[in-house]
Each structure stands twice: as structure tokens, then as C-alpha cells.
């Protein structure tokens, strides 16, 4: 199989370049990450992030043939050749396919991604009814791989001000949680022309999410709650 991979080592290279690779491999049931690891045996300078190799940790998010995704759960047979691999767009490149996620996590932390509950902790858990728990489905599964946020043109343009789809999905995850007591503060924080309202429902986030989540719907729910609060 033919591959064309973005290479950039800032210590050595003046500018990034694409390098072609040829790999003798039968796609079979192999995933893209398997092929990248075989390529790394050929050329051990090729740098990537990976960990769980089964779509749980979100480390190996990259731009695969123009579309963000996780290499470890992308079947080789589904890819058109040459397979063009680039780092996630819109973030600074550290080396090859590794990007600096600082800005992404800064936005994630800005939405206070934890339960705010001022009641004294009970003896056991803070209980939820099955219906209350069901509201978190489609929200808690996010693995923060960054595929959605780095495919969002609004984030490319205002990465320092727009929270981005991943952060907003998590913002709604805590607004929707029956145990959280900070809904008003969370809505106040997002009532901002940049932080929430730079979302123009482009829906690239929904298109690329490897966990098939729907950040646009979550953003719509936040907007609905703001409207409900003010009328």
C-alpha cells in the first residue's frame, strides 16, 4: 500500500514536507495504526502518539485522507491510496503527526469539566434515577481525541476564544447532569459572542466524531436552555 505522510522535525527541517512510503501489507482486518507501526519499523524517525490501540484513549487522532479520525479504528481496506496522513489541522505541530493540544485542553478546562455540588457528600453515592442518568448518554462517551474541535473552522479562526465542539459537548454534559448545581453559572459563562456563539452549525464535528457523538445537538441544547431562561 502507498502512503504519503506529513513529516516535520523542527530541529532538523526548515519546513514540513510529505514523504512517500510503500508498505507490503494485505489490508485484511488490519487497522491504519497497524500499518503505521509497520512503517515505523522501516523508518523509526516517524513520530506518532498512540496508546490503547482500540479507540478508547484518543491519542492517535490524525487527519486521514483529509478527514480527522482515529488511526486505530480506521480499517485499512476502507482507505483510498495513496493514504495521506497529516497531523490534526489548526494546532501547532510538535513533530510529524504529533500536535500540541494545549489550546484544546485550555478550552476544555475553561468549562469546568467537573461536578459542582455544594451539598455535603452523602454516606454513599449521589444517586440518579435511570431517567436522569439517560440524559448523559451521548455526552459522557467523549474521549477528548480532538477530532471534532480541530475540524471546526470556527475553532481554526478563534482557538483562543471559541470553546470548540469537544468543550461545549462537555459543558452540556455537566449542565445535563442532575447532580450538578451550577447550571446558571455555566450558562452565564457561555453567554458570550465567542465562547459559544462562534458555532455556526457547520457540523464538521458531527461528521468526524469517531465515537459518533453529536456536539452540534449539545450546543443547540445549551442555546435552547439560554432562550428558556430568558423568556
Amino acid at each position: 500500500m502507498k502512503f504519503s505522510i506529513y513529516r516535520y522535525n523542527p530541529d532538523v527541517d526548515a519546513a514540513p514536507y510529505m514523504r512517500d512510503y510503500d508498505l507490503d501489507v494485505e489490508p485484511g482486518d488490519k487497522m491504519l495504526l497497524d500499518a503505521i507501526l509497520l512503517l515505523k519499523e522501516q523508518d523509526d524517525s516517524l513520530s506518532i502518539r498512540k496508546s490503547c490501540r482500540e479507540g478508547v484513549c484518543g491519542s492517535d487522532a490524525m487527519n486521514i485522507n483529509g478527514r480527522n479520525g482515529l488511526a486505530c479504528i480506521t480499517p485499512l481496506y476502507s482507505l483510498k491510496e495513496p493514504v495521506v496522513l497529516r497531523p490534526l489541522p489548526g494546532l501547532p505541530v510538535i513533530r510529524d503527526l504529533i500536535v500540541d493540544m494545549t489550546q484544546f485542553f485550555k478550552q476544555y478546562h475553561s468549562i469546568k469539566p467537573y461536578l459542582v455540588n455544594n451539598d455535603p457528600p452523602p454516606e454513599t453515592e449521589r444517586l440518579q434515577s435511570p431517567a436522569q442518568r439517560a440524559h448523559l448518554n451521548g455526552l459522557y462517551e467523549c474521549i477528548l481525541c480532538g477530532c471534532c474541535t480541530t475540524s471546526c473552522p470556527s475553532f481554526w479562526w478563534n482557538p483562543d476564544k471559541f470553546v470548540g465542539p469537544a468543550g461545549l459537548l462537555q459543558a452540556y454534559r455537566f449542565i445535563a447532569d442532575s447532580r450538578d448545581q451550577a447550571t446558571a453559572e455555566r450558562l452565564d459563562d457561555l453567554e458570550d459572542p465567542y465562547r459559544l456563539f462562534r458555532c455556526h452549525t457547520i457540523m464538521n464535528c458531527v461528521d468526524v466524531c469517531p465515537k459518533e457523538l453529536n456536539p452540534t445537538e449539545a450546543i443547540g441544547n445549551i442555546k435552547d436552555l439560554m432562550v428558556k431562561r430568558s423568556v
Partner: protein
């Protein structure tokens, strides 16, 4: 002044909602106008002036134009926010756009009521 990333203007929801409502008004006006042109195909100057001498049509037209201007204000402001970074230049453009749109509103009233 320090160079800091500042957010937290605490507006946005109202504009977002107004943009949706004005879009509905404009869609309704376009449908009505398209319906008129479809069912009264042979229009002429007299028909057209009699149509626009009706207070209902004039008011609906003004409502359409004001919706258009408000919708445009929010859209243009969003574009300026994306592309124009220095606050002073941005404010100047905002003021110019608002003044232009206010002028268009007055002009629309003059045209519709034949003043």
C-alpha cells in the same frame, strides 16, 4: 494596556435568537411575494403601485426590510469580529455599519410611503 485574550461579554443569545426570528419574517415575505408573482403573472405599473399603496403591504415590506437590516447587522458584526482584530478599527466599522443600516431604514420608509 496589557495584551490579554478577553471573553465574557455576556451577550450573544439575544442576537442569535433575533437572527432566527428575522430569518422567519424574511422567508414569510419572500413566500408571499413569490406567490403574488406566480398567481398574478402579468403585472404592470398600475397593479404594482396599487399593491404597494396598501398599508398592509407597505407595513409588511418595512418589517421585511427592518428584519433584513437587523439580520445583516448581526452577520456583518460576526464577520468583522473574525477578520478585524484591532479594537479601534473594529469599533469604527461597527459604527459605520450601524449608521448605514439606520440610513437604509429611513430611506426604506421614504420609498415605501412615497415621501
Amino acid at each position: 494596556m496589557v495584551n490579554r485574550v478577553v471573553t465574557g461579554a455576556h451577550y450573544g443569545m439575544r442576537d442569535w435568537l433575533i437572527q432566527r426570528i428575522t430569518a422567519v419574517v424574511m422567508a414569510a415575505y419572500c413566500l408571499v411575494l413569490a406567490g403574488y408573482l406566480l398567481f398574478v403573472p402579468q403585472t404592470n405599473y398600475d397593479l404594482w403601485t396599487s399593491l404597494f399603496s396598501s398599508q398592509v403591504v407597505r407595513t409588511f415590506s418595512l418589517l421585511f426590510l427592518m428584519s433584513l437590516f437587523y439580520h445583516a447587522w448581526i452577520g456583518i458584526r460576526d464577520i468583522v469580529m473574525d477578520y478585524v482584530k484591532p479594537a479601534a478599527v473594529r469599533l469604527a466599522i461597527h459604527v459605520l455599519v450601524i449608521l448605514a443600516l439606520l440610513l437604509y431604514t429611513i430611506w426604506s420608509v421614504q420609498i415605501l410611503w412615497g415621501m
